[in-house]
Subunit: 166 residues, 2 copies
């Protein structure tokens, strides 16, 4: 550290502070996924199913290709998950109207029910954390997370908010 016992203003960049941040991410992510994981385990699903359900819910009618880009996995990997969700009647795959090569993905009633169950649990944890930390902490939390994303990921992330809610 060139600054030596540098000013308070720079303290947050010490290796020690960075390490704490790294470990906080590790442990917090476990907490973040713990509640949905429990629900999913009962139904013999995994995180992959959760992610698919979440983003289909967020962007109803999205295409397979779209989902692929958001999730950052291969189509073979996504397909396996999607197939089981369709077989189980949680997701519906409709041939595209304008482009018949595409498949538009929607949650069925049952799919929406599971989505709600999962996101309720996850939101509850997030809500509790937000409440404990307070509104200013929340703003900082989001700023750091956004700065930590790759550019591609940040684009995906921002695009979701602009998404036309139909």
């Amino acid at each position: 550290m060139a600054e030596g016992a540098g000013g308070q203003a720079l303290l947050f960049l010490t290796d020690e502070q960075l390490r704490k941040g790294i470990e906080a991410m590790f442990f917090a992510y476990r907490g973040f996924t713990a509640d949905p994981d429990r629900i999913l385990a009962e139904k013999s699903y995994g995180r992959a199913h959760h992610r698919a359900i979440h983003f289909i819910h967020r962007a109803p009618g999205t295409t397979v290709n779209n989902l692929l880009a958001t999730l950052g996995v291969t189509k073979q990997s996504l397909n396996r998950v999607l197939r089981s969700l369709i077989e189980d009647g949680l997701v519906e795959s409709r041939v595209g109207r304008s482009d018949k090569r595409e498949r538009n993905l929607h949650l069925t009633e049952a799919g929406q029910a599971l989505e709600r169950e999962l996101s309720d649990a996850q939101r509850e944890r997030m809500r509790a954390a937000y409440r404990t930390a307070g509104p200013e902490a929340v703003a900082g939390f989001r700023q750091v997370l956004e700065a930590m994303m790759d550019d591609d990921q940040r684009r995906q992330y921002e695009r979701l908010s602009e998404a036309p809610r139909r």
Copy 2:
């Protein structure tokens, strides 16, 4: 939303805000692991190896059981990873002095070199994010993450800071 168009002070608890937080965690975690993942892929290791190396570095001489509790996996799962690290000469496993059932784990020179390479990459990303977001954001970031952990995880997390550096 019982508050209706509630005061600014409560805005951060809307479902929309919570959802953004959830998605931010998802995308940010990908960024968080991206750099180490690239380095590990070259060497045919995975995240599990990274985690083991990280926490052995943090608490040299730790036992398998200890590491188990920190990582939250089964001992069989950890053992596989540990075995390959030992075979490759990155980790040394010494029979415990007082209790011969235990194994004390240490990084070798080569292990420390890899640890440094991985943590340099990850710290660099964290440093950049911290710099972009600023010190107040960092404080909030940490507060929210800590509030998101399970109690057990938070205890593990806090214990690491108290760890006697030998």
